[in-house]
Amino acid sequence: MNIYFGGMCISMAAYILIGIFISRKIHNAEDYYVAGRRAPVLLIAGSLIASYTSTGMFMGDAAQAYAGSFTSMLLLGTMQTIGYILGAVLFGRYLRRMKVMTIPEYFGKRFCSVKMKYLAAITAVVTMTVYLLSVMQGIGTLMSTVTGVSYALCITLALIVFAVLTILSGSRGVLITDTMMAALFTGALVIGAIIVAVKAGGWNSAIAQVTHDPATSKIFSWGGQPGSLYMSGLANVGYGLVYGIVWMSVCMVGPWQTSRYLMAKDEHTAIRSAYPAAIGVFFLELLCFMMSIFVHCFKPELESNSHVLIWASMNLLPKILGVIVLTGVLAAGISSATTFLSLIGASVSNDLAGERLKKRWNPIRLGQIVMAIVSIIVLLLSIFNPPSIFWIMFMGGAIVASSWMPVALASVLSRRLTKQGAFCGMLTGFLICFILKLYQGISGAELPVYLDPSLMGIIFNIIVMAIVSSFTKVTPEEDAVHDMMFVMPEAEKDPAKVKKTLAISKWSFLMGAFVIVILLVLWVIPYLRAL
């Protein structure tokens, strides 16, 4: 057993022990599925960051940055962060007022439609299973590369850990371990990026070295390295803009993000936690891209680009720090996996299970059985599927953006949206995105960036939603539910809390200035000087 495998095993044993400890504090379904609805800002923000940050970022995004798509990934990574804030303000707090356990249940209640709940639950389960699969593959690739142990054994071991943790401790355990893991991988990434930069002669010198090398001279330019995504710089920027909007939508309404707002102590907690989550994700993405690109100073070519941070951790960092970074990447994967698994369990047991099943088992037991079955299915799929983390992960996000985002926002902002309009819009967005992605995957065809499946899904979702709603009528029940959503609960009107939340929100525009300063200091000025 090498030292990296040892570190990973110790961390996984710790997560299981925490899960066992927390499981003793679960008393009812609310504790299990929505953490008793009393989580503070720290846990909500930590979990928002951890559920976004997975092996997809540390391996998929890192690989894209190493390959030369820095600006595309930077556009995506920065544009999406605003989704946390808009999601909490425009959707999350209204979601809380419906007192639901899951987001599909919200859609069902909002439109007084069981069909709507089923459709949302099916899209949620498909998306999260696909996403869980990508995380599993990432964890398997990471562990087998680092330890030399077989891929199948590695994913079985990881699956046992996150399945036991999730099944035992539910969302309460997921929130606590997510926050711990977020602290671990944030610290590891910050220290890791600094050490790699120092070894390359300093931050500015590392950027200069990459820029002076003819093979990588365009990585830090606005158009990126030709061929890393597209040959033209404009198309690469277009990709960043399109996926920036898509992932902003995912951060706004994605079930793994918005479900956190259901667990928050109150609406103020949900809103306030969105700001540190947005800043945290921006920082982590930027550091991840920079650290990956700096690897060019030491290793111009890798066998697999998605191993870039693994290579850096094993070859550039002091051993103990390498162990911490790799344990942090594993933690990022496990934290996302626990989130997806717990949401799949909640969606199936709460939204899709028939009355007979609900009568036979209590909600917690039913969720646990579902999670165990899903874990086995995902394990088998992971073993038989080749690893292609980046693209599978993007399919999950794309489906959420194209099927959920327009309907979720319109469910709050529009009085004219009917249940038929919402259903047809969501179904159209889902089908268009899924079919186009499948076509791309099977045929290998490359669509131009403006015909991207997720963008097409969003556009057609909006068009169909508007047309069908114009031919149908909002029922008095739907109208009443919409009105009810805008009644602020008495507990949320505390003047001190309102003042604090408004003050945070008022000064948050400074985040834009902060982004400009950080990008100028860490990217633009060193790059322009190096030219």
Partner: protein
């Protein structure tokens, strides 16, 4: 162009924060106004 992208991203983030603030302010003020009216 790199500077333009940086300014665009900063403006994007600020615009999103401003939108969120405007929405919150309007809704909280509506509620406070209603309270005063009573």
């Amino acid at each position: 162009m790199e500077i333009l992208i940086t300014i665009f991203l900063g403006a994007w983030v600020s615009a999103g924060c401003f939108l969120a603030y405007r929405r919150l302010k309007r809704e909280f003020q509506d509620e406070t106004g209603r309270e005063r009216g009573r």
